[in-house]
Symmetry: C2
Subunit: 163 residues, 2 copies
């Protein structure tokens, strides 16, 4: 049964790794100039989406009990306010470096986790509530961030030159 749990956990981890690799691949193939473009008319720019993803992934560090946040200053620009709010964004090269750092920190921590660790509570639910709601675990955070990433991956694809 333990082997079965490992297999199930690995399905979710593989899903995260796959979509993360695909997103890294797209971002590597979009120029800094093209990152300033909107993914669709009147929608978010590439640079905003990149900053948004860094902020969301950075928040996973404390949420999963992995470590302190690295870039809390990004929340104001990329989570609490929409694109074109008038707030000054960091240069795209700086966001690219933070994107790399954040994902490396997550994946280093993930590779040290045991399958059973993924079923423990995330840090925004109390022990009392978790006893009643055991699905509010770390695996659930990972699965939710995986679909969130996939959603924006589908949008970032539009920054690539059309074939």
């Amino acid at each position: 049964m333990e082997a079965q749990l490992n297999i199930a956990i690995n399905v979710v981890l593989n899903s995260w790794n796959t979509i993360l690799g695909m997103t890294i691949g797209v971002l590597d193939n979009v120029t800094d100039e093209d990152m300033m473009r909107e993914v669709s008319l009147g929608r978010n720019t590439g640079i905003y989406l990149l900053g948004h993803l860094v902020a969301v992934h950075d928040r996973m560090l404390p949420l999963l009990g992995i470590g302190e946040r690295k870039y809390p200053e990004l929340d104001d620009i990329f989570l609490n306010t929409p694109d074109r709010s008038g707030k000054t964004m960091p240069p795209v090269q700086e966001l690219r470096a933070k994107w790399l750092e954040t994902n490396n920190a997550l994946n280093t921590a993930f590779s040290a986790m045991q399958p059973i660790d993924w079923l423990s509570r995330h840090t925004s639910i109390s022990e009392e509530d978790f006893a009643k709601q055991p699905h509010r675990n770390k695996l659930n955070v990972l699965a939710s961030r995986t679909t969130h990433l996939a959603e924006h991956y589908g949008q970032l694809l539009f920054l690539k030159p059309r074939a």
Copy 2:
């Protein structure tokens, strides 16, 4: 340990249900007329993406051993050829009905499955290969189709009127 496996499987099922519900919500709020629009300049139309999702989800029926395909005729238009291939698409109302049918068929079957069933092989891998690659199971198909759906959900959002 069996309870733990249930919890892990339910994380993946909840992820599917959440993104499916969100996609249904968006499609319900896009008019048939707006479904003819491109999600971004020069990219897929809404109607093409809807047909594509129906075809991909319809293929899950035999792949998961749930049943026969309902709409194999969609593959030629929505899987084997890109948008604007010149092939005649079914009316969007017909695709909307098929989208509903397909997802209902899947979810009815899912609700009858036991957690352990999700770790059994899908039908495109042989028993011999599955013995060596136990991650090629039904849960993996579900997780993969969940990120696929999330990717297109992020794109379909662009058909909604801008706030």
